[in-house]
């Protein structure tokens, strides 16, 4: 039986690449993570596999490239069905996909606005971000995970972005724990998982990276 060749084009601080790494780990799939230098030159494989966006992550499975982190996680779910990351019923899956879409549209961009803003805009961005977290807190409810009793699709898409929360807190002058304690508790719970902890970047290092981005954007 021939072995699957699974390559993931990666960047240490990318929350999107981390989604794919967590999903592969949860499925017990062996893969090779290749670091891209996104601030330097992009590799030929990256440019060839993802010509439209030229971004990580890219999953190359037996020579075929899959792009876009949420689509990659769906692909991983479809290709290696156990343990499943989505509920078995159509309605449960639709609910998960709805919240996945919400996380995709709101969470990272909402947080980015905080450190990309100046002056009064920072406070506005912070308030909007807290609102987004409160909506997610509502979706989580009393459940351990967004997936219910088991860690699943929405948890995988959301948890990597939380590595950037420390940076948002520093620039926005707030604490997620004070504003949304349930989200804080959920983060701690997810970090107990090896699949999450092994690739999760140090929040202080992410904060340093954001400082670098701000310099590049002329914000400091």
């Amino acid at each position: 039986m021939s072995k699957d060749e699974v390559i993931l084009l990666d960047f240490w601080v990318s929350p999107f690449a981390l989604r794919a790494k967590i999903a592969l780990a949860e499925k017990g799939v062996e893969f090779e993570a290749r670091q891209e230098d996104l601030l330097g030159e992009k590799s030929e494989l990256l440019l060839k596999s993802n010509p439209i966006y030229k971004k990580v992550p890219v999953l190359v499975h037996n020579g075929k490239a899959v792009n876009e982190s949420t689509i990659i996680v769906s692909y991983i779910e479809d290709t290696w069905p156990t343990p499943s990351l989505l509920p078995p019923c159509a309605y449960g899956r639709a609910t998960a996909r709805f919240w996945a879409d919400y996380v995709d549209k709101k969470l990272f961009d909402g947080g980015s606005k905080i450190w990309r803003s100046k002056g009064e805009e920072v406070e506005v961005a912070k308030k909007e971000f807290i609102e987004i977290l409160k909506v997610l807190e509502g979706a989580l409810g009393e459940k351990e995970y967004f997936g219910g009793d088991s860690f699943g699709f929405v948890d995988i898409l959301a948890i990597p972005i939380t590595a950037w929360f420390y940076a948002y807190e520093q620039y926005g002058n707030f604490k997620v724990e004070d504003e949304c304690p349930k989200i804080s508790a959920w983060i701690k719970k997810c970090l107990e998982r090896e699949s999450v902890a092994s690739g999760y970047p140090e929040p202080t290092k992410v904060y340093e990276f954001v400082g670098l981005l701000r310099k590049m954007l002329g914000l400091e």
Binding site: E68, I71, D78, R93, V135
Partner: protein
């Protein structure tokens, strides 16, 4: 075949609201259509989609499902009648999802930017985005259709629904510009595909007329409403 209680909250001008209707038609599922007023938000809409307060919303056995492509996937999974909308192979599914996401995240922004452009340069950038995207989609069509009539092959599939739902607005934009973005020279396959898509039984009653859309667009640009979502 009527399969349980299905309601669809939509708006005639919304390409997003068209998508679940095409999917339900493909599956031969009866549904009650409830046209939403964009001016005032209907209570049922606010109750069923409290997060976004937008159409489309599908209500199946009293449970709401929101976000057009989430609804289309739900319809594909919940109803076994009619053709499959997403491919069965996991790689092909990923490709279908990729193009649908490209259409919604990147291409659609260019399309709606044309009307909002304030300078000639902004307009040229927006038009460039539309035509570049259509060029990519022309190539994708050649690869994915495998000689058949749709991105999905023999029958309308996921990418067909994602892109085709914009055709009314695309034609309105072409009328305003006085030029074609889908044309026989640069996108011959998409030209034939567009006609085939619009005349398909699952689509033909749903595509809004360009004239009506242009009037609607004028109203939007006068600042009265948010663009259709």
């Amino acid at each position: 075949m009527a399969t349980g209680d299905v309601k669809l909250l939509g708006a005639w001008a919304s390409p997003f609201a068209m998508r679940p209707r095409i999917a339900l038609n493909l599956k031969n599922v009866d549904y009650k259509y409830l046209e939403q007023n964009l001016g005032g938000k209907d209570e049922l809409l606010l109750k069923s989609n409290p997060v976004h307060k937008k159409v489309p919303v599908m209500i199946h056995k009293d449970k709401p499902i929101c976000e057009s492509l989430v609804i289309v996937q739900y319809i594909d999974e919940a109803f076994t009648s009619g053709p499959s909308i997403l491919p069965s192979d996991s790689y092909d599914r990923a490709i279908a999802r990729f193009w649908a996401a490209y259409i919604d995240d990147k291409w659609c922004a260019s399309l709606f930017s044309i009307a909002r452009a304030k300078t000639d340069e902004e307009k040229a950038t927006a038009v460039g985005g539309v035509t570049t995207g259509l060029g990519l989609l022309e190539q994708a069509f050649k690869k994915l259709s495998k000689g058949k009539g749709f991105f999905g092959g023999e029958t309308i599939g996921y990418i067909d629904i994602a892109l085709g739902s914009y055709l009314g607005w695309l034609r309105a934009a072409e009328t305003l510009a006085g030029s074609k973005y889908i044309d026989e020279t640069t996108t011959p396959n998409l030209t034939v595909w567009a006609e085939r898509f619009c005349s398909d039984a699952a689509v033909q009653d749903l595509m809004p007329e360009s004239e009506k859309l242009l009037d609607f667009a004028k109203m939007l640009l006068s600042g009265k409403f948010d663009p259709p979502k």
